[in-house]
Structures are given as structure tokens and as C-alpha cells.
């Protein structure tokens, strides 16, 4: 009986995967070029992320606020960092799609830059995914109620990936990949990331 239930679950998983692949093939974004990148990006305030992940800020909040106020403040900061990681993940997806299109270029330099961009974007996606799972769990279980934890500074790395460092590397890779844009557009790209 149990094996039958598992078999049905696996078959259902397979069917859903087939439907998803069909949807990907049907609704794919037309080849994303440089014009389709900047308007689709969400700005990520890296200095804000740095301050959220700073252990000293955690300590300062804990020192200055009452336990209840501290818990509320922590929840707000968690929600804020969740939004930042959502934006990071979204920007990384847009850049992966751009790099996909660039991979078909005849110029080996552009292909090389696109590969680097894609690699960094995937690392950002992995970091964002792991961090968001952790944050959702913390928010769902209200883990800060029991121990006055979690400490946001622990989110700096996830799966051996330093989130902010990798996001900065992604920005550098994007600047290199889009170097041929006019200066005002390149500036707009760096501001939008």
C-alpha cells in the first residue's frame, strides 16, 4: 500500500514536471537582449543589506531595546532582508536569461563574459534560495520568541556562498558584460542592480 502511494506520488511529480517543461517551451521569453535587461531589474540597496547582516547592529538593538521591542524589530529586519534576497534572485534570473542569449554570440569574448555572468547569477540564486528558506522558517516558527534569536548576521553565508560578496561579483560581471553600452545606460544598469 505504502509503495503504491509513493509510486503515485512519483508519477504525479513526473507529470507535473512534464507540464512545467511544456509551459517553459510555450511561454519562453523571447531572446533577452541588452534592451530587455535594465527595465526589468529591481534595485538592491547593498549598504542596507550590509547593515542588516552586521553583528554589531544586532548587538546594539539587543542592548538598547526591551525584549519585546527587540523581537518586533528583528521580525521587521528579517522581512526587509527577505525582500532584498527576493530582488537579488529576480535580478539574477534576468541576467541568466541575458547570458543565455549572449552564449550564442560569435564573439568568444562575449561568450566568456556571459559564462562568468551566468555562473555568478546562479550562485546568487542558490544563496537567495537557501536564505529565503531559512528566513521563511524563522518567520513561520517565530523562533525569536524562545531564544531571542535568530541572528541575522548568520545569513551572510549560505551553502558556502557569501551572499553580499557574490552579489557584488555579479554586479562586476554584469558591468563587464555590458561594457559596450552607452555610458548613461551602463550607469543606469549599475544603479538598478
Amino acid at each position: 500500500m505504502l509503495s503504491l502511494i509513493f509510486t503515485w506520488l512519483i508519477v504525479a511529480w513526473g507529470i507535473l514536471s512534464c507540464i512545467y517543461m511544456l509551459r517553459c517551451a510555450w511561454t519562453r521569453f523571447p531572446k533577452r537582449d541588452a534592451d530587455d535587461v535594465i527595465p526589468f531589474l529591481y534595485p538592491v540597496d547593498i549598504s542596507l543589506a550590509e547593515s542588516l547582516l552586521d553583528p554589531a547592529t544586532d548587538f546594539e538593538f539587543r542592548w538598547n531595546l526591551r525584549p519585546r521591542q527587540f523581537r518586533d524589530a528583528q521580525r521587521k529586519r528579517m522581512r526587509l532582508y527577505l525582500e532584498l534576497t527576493r530582488r537579488m534572485a529576480h535580478n539574477a534570473t534576468v541576467l541568466v536569461q541575458y547570458a543565455d542569449a549572449e552564449n550564442n554570440s560569435c564573439d568568444p569574448r562575449r561568450v566568456g563574459l556571459a559564462s562568468t555572468l551566468q555562473q555568478k547569477a546562479i550562485e546568487v540564486r542558490i544563496y537567495s534560495l537557501l536564505t529565503r528558506i531559512k528566513l521563511h522558517l524563522w518567520l513561520l516558527l517565530r523562533s525569536e520568541l524562545l531564544t531571542s534569536k535568530p541572528v541575522l548576521a548568520h545569513l551572510r553565508t549560505a551553502g558556502d556562498i557569501d551572499g553580499l560578496q557574490t552579489y557584488n561579483a555579479l554586479k562586476i560581471a554584469a558591468a563587464a558584460a555590458f561594457v559596450e553600452l552607452p555610458p548613461d545606460e551602463l550607469e543606469s544598469l549599475t544603479r538598478s542592480l
Binding site: 500500500m1 505504502l2 509503495s3 503504491l4 509513493f6 509510486t7 503515485w8 512519483i10 508519477v11 511529480w13 513526473g14 507529470i15 507535473l16 514536471s17 512534464c18 512545467y20 517543461m21 517553459c24 519562453r28 534572485a89 539574477a92 534570473t93 541568466v96 536569461q97 543565455d100 552564449n103 550564442n104 564573439d107 568568444p108 569574448r109 561568450v111 566568456g112 563574459l113 559564462s115 555562473q119 547569477a121 546562479i122 540564486r125 542558490i126 534560495l129 551553502g159 558556502d160 557584488n168 554586479k171 562586476i172 558591468a175 563587464a176 561594457v179 559596450e180 555610458p183 551602463l186 550607469e187 544598469l189 549599475t190 544603479r191
Partner: protein
């Protein structure tokens, strides 16, 4: 009608084999190339032996064992191609053995729940076949989850190979667990569903391999940036700080 059911998958496989040769897929996916070459040879062998019951039976079971072995090797190749570019973490090497163990476990559990009428080597071949199908669905569904979660490019050869196998394996598992309720009509339904699902899988492979894919080059020899581009790049980096 029976001949048509033989000719359609065999014809599609021959077309796929030519396409793989043209795309030099033996360099990118050597085990999948071997699988397709074996499938063309195996189906031709079965077709030749069709009117001789004893040689047909022998050919059928030998080629079925070959399909099992190559099916799992192709899954190894797909996982290595996708995960190799994603992570160097030690646990990534455990994914394939875990998939195989899960597939064998599910196949054994099924054999225990629904006793087979086969015995001896034939029983083990069918057991292996069901384990490979479970493994193929696991790999396919896992890769689709990666596409969804990490935004990976899905239009690449390893995903195409996994999609074809995943679709076929899903349909065959569904057929095995559901159509067995139909009693004597099961054999007919199973045969036709198998032919249609396999033909669709081969069409998926043809579609994926119809587009050339550049081999991954980890260290491309980059031409230097022009002085103007270099200045602009430095300006962009300065603005980021």
C-alpha cells in the same frame, strides 16, 4: 498496423542517430549517443527476429538488459553535466548513488507488493527496468525543480535527454500501475502506450538536438578590451563603490 508500430520508433531513432552524428553529440553526451546507437541496433535485431519465437525471446531479453544498463549510465551523464557546472560540494557526488538506491528500493517494494509471474534472470531484468524508470523520473523531476528554483537554462542537451526519458518513464510507470486493472486488455494497451510514449520521447530528443549547442569552454581565450571599453568598465566599477 503492427509493422507501423515497429517502423515509427525505429525510423525516428534512425533520424535521431543521424542528427546526433551531425551535431557530434558523441563528444558532449557519449553515453546518450551510445544509447541511441544501441537502440537502433536492438530494435533492428528484434524486428529481424520477429517471426522466430525463440531467437526473438533471447534477443528481447538481452536487449532489454542493455537498455537498463545504458539508461542508468545516461542518467549518470546527465547529472554529472548539470551538477558539475553548479557545485563542487562533496555531497553533490552522493546524489547519483542516492537516486539509484531510491530507484532500486521502490522497484523492490513494488515487486514485493505485486508478485511477478516471471522468474530467474527475466525477473531481475524487469526489476532493473522498473528501478531505472524510477531513477529517470527522479532525475527529470529534480532537474525541472532546479530550472524552476535556480533559473537554469532548460534548452540544453542534458535537460532534453532527461525530459525524453522522464516523459517515457512517467507514462510507463503510470501504465504499469493503472492499466494492470484492465486484465487481459492490459497487454494491448501497454504495447500501444509504450510505442506512443517512446515515439514522443524520441521526438523531444530530436527537437532538443535540432539546435546546435556550443561546448562549454571554461577558459575561453578572451580578446583584450579596447582602451575605451576598459575606461568605461573602470568608471562603472568606481560608481558601484
Amino acid at each position: 498496423m503492427k509493422l507501423l508500430a515497429w517502423f515509427i520508433p525505429l525510423g525516428l531513432l534512425a533520424l535521431l542517430f543521424c542528427l546526433l552524428l551531425q551535431r557530434r553529440a558523441y563528444k558532449v553526451c557519449p553515453w546518450f549517443f551510445t544509447y541511441v546507437a544501441f537502440a537502433v541496433a536492438a530494435d533492428s535485431g528484434r524486428f529481424v527476429a520477429l517471426s522466430h519465437p525463440h531467437p526473438y525471446r533471447t534477443t528481447y531479453w538481452i536487449t532489454e538488459a542493455g537498455y537498463d544498463l545504458l539508461g542508468i549510465l545516461v542518467m549518470y551523464e546527465v547529472l554529472r553535466a548539470v551538477l558539475g557546472g553548479l557545485t563542487l560540494a562533496w555531497w553533490a557526488r552522493l546524489i547519483f548513488p542516492a537516486v539509484v538506491v531510491a530507484g532500486v528500493g521502490m522497484s523492490l517494494a513494488r515487486a514485493n507488493a505485486v508478485p511477478s509471474r516471471l522468474s530467474g534472470i527475466e525477473f531481475y531484468i524487469v526489476l532493473g527496468e522498473i528501478a531505472v524508470r524510477f531513477a529517470q523520473v527522479f532525475v527529470f523531476a529534480g532537474l525541472v525543480a532546479l530550472v524552476r528554483l535556480l533559473g537554469l537554462r532548460w534548452r540544453q542537451y542534458p535537460f532534453g535527454v532527461a525530459t525524453g526519458f522522464g516523459l517515457y518513464a512517467t507514462v510507463m510507470l503510470l501504465t504499469t500501475i493503472k492499466f494492470s486493472d484492465f486484465g487481459t486488455r492490459f497487454k494491448l494497451l501497454w504495447g500501444w502506450t509504450s510505442v506512443v510514449a517512446y515515439s514522443v520521447a524520441v521526438l523531444i530528443w530530436i527537437w532538443f538536438f535540432s539546435v546546435p549547442q556550443k561546448a562549454e569552454n571554461q577558459n575561453p581565450e578572451l580578446s583584450a578590451l579596447s582602451p575605451g571599453d576598459l575606461k568605461q568598465y573602470k568608471d562603472a566599477l568606481r560608481r558601484m563603490r
